[in-house]
Amino acid sequence: MSIRALFVPRISLLHRLDPRTKLVVWIAVALPALIANSILLSLVMFSFTVALAVIGKVSGLYVKNIVRVLLPVFVPIFLIQGLFYPGGNTPVLYLLPGLYFRREGIAFAAVLLTRLLAIFGGAYLLNLTTNPSDLMASMQKLGLPLKIAYPLFSALQIVPMLESRLQVVKEAQMSRGLKLQNVGVVQRLRNFVPLLTPLLLGAIEEAYRRSIALEARGFSSRVKKTFLRDPRITRIDVGFLVSVLICVCLLSLLTFSIIPRPNPWNL
């Protein structure tokens, strides 16, 4: 596994927007799904994020990765809630005598999963279309101190470095006789200490080097810092935000009007 920011550079309206705008859009999409107990509304909100992804020219990747990430969560939730949900037991499908899918459980799982789709979909879209340095710059404009923003952003470079260093430590320790392959769980847990200790000591060394490099560039000096990348809220942002908010309101109202009552499946 290797660390890479989710960001995909494209030339699109969504990429040009200020990250703060996209943050508000995410909240606007997630909120109806979070509040309402409705499969349809969450699905509508998710479809809306897909439409936004089309505008951002990342729709294929967006849908593919959402499915890939959600599926491992989807299966256990669906099985556990469908089979064992304690809130009711109207049988829908018998697997074995005494073990059956319950309507209430399936409805509950479906609400949860569609809600996850809408909430995490919006967040993923934000990350997919926003350069991390822009995100950092706007976070700082929203009041996040540099002393928090720097570590988060520099972790993007440091984590891959530590990964390759772990590989070096692994090989070094193996050459000294540490068993790393084909060992049981207990030995694997014991291996944490010889693998992570050199990594930690190296990290302390590296941090001293970096703290000097930072100070050489005036990290703690109390002057106003300038940004290399400087996202600003423009008229495009305002227009986009207003149209998104109108769309979300209209879609919510429309969905509510077509939900059947009574509503045993949480549609």
Partner: protein, 199 residues
């Protein structure tokens, strides 16, 4: 005491302390890779070590930023659990600050390490369970934990206690083992180096 607090924050977030944060985030991430083939999560070792070696507030920031980092890189679900990871770093740091955890290898220390592991597990359970229940209906995403949860539900337990017990069983394993590992690593860091860091 009024003087002590700002100066503690200043030493924990000196330029060196800040430069340590991304590296400890990296240790969290790397150790969670190592843990992938074991029954533990292992994604809080860096927060614990930052808490122990540098200080509780540094551990807190490392924990929170680790999950925010995971959120913007590869794991869209990590964000809510930032609170859990932050609490782990903070508590591990407080335990080292008040002298419960010391870098000495003796049986008394082993007992105290286990105790801190239990405290961490209780904290993690108390914070994670409401998140698991509201976000995922009680499942956690690690197969063996979810199997226990399903077992409790099948036995007629309500969702919250079932999820809490399953979460606690997984956390007690994870936190006792990871804190023990963190303490072992702590004992191996030269004491003069730790003095230099805390100065």
């Amino acid at each position: 005491m009024t003087e002590a607090r700002p100066s503690r924050l200043r030493t924990e977030f000196s330029t060196f302390g800040i430069a340590m944060i991304p590296l400890m985030i990296g240790i969290n991430i790397v150790s969670s890779y190592l843990a992938a083939s074991t029954p533990i999560w292992g994604d809080t070792i860096g927060s614990q070590l930052a808490g122990i070696i540098i200080g509780p507030f540094n551990g807190l920031v490392v924990g929170a930023l680790t999950n925010i980092f995971k959120w913007i890189t590869f794991d869209p679900y990590a964000l809510p659990y930032a609170i859990v990871n932050a609490a782990i770093g903070l508590i591990a740091g407080v335990c080292a600050m008040v002298g419960i955890v010391k870098p000495e290898r003796n049986s008394k220390q082993i007992g105290k390490t286990l105790l801190v592991g239990i405290i961490l597990a209780v904290t993690a359970t108390l914070i994670s369970t409401p998140l698991n229940v509201t976000l995922y209906g009680g499942t956690t995403g690690k197969a063996w934990v979810d199997a226990i949860f399903a077992g409790f539900l099948a036995g007629g337990w309500p969702v919250f206690p079932a999820s809490m017990t399953a979460e606690f069983i997984s956390d007690i394993t994870d936190k006792i083992i990871t804190f023990f590992i963190s303490w072992l690593i702590y004992t191996k860091v030269p004491s003069q180096l730790i003095k230099t860091i805390r100065r």
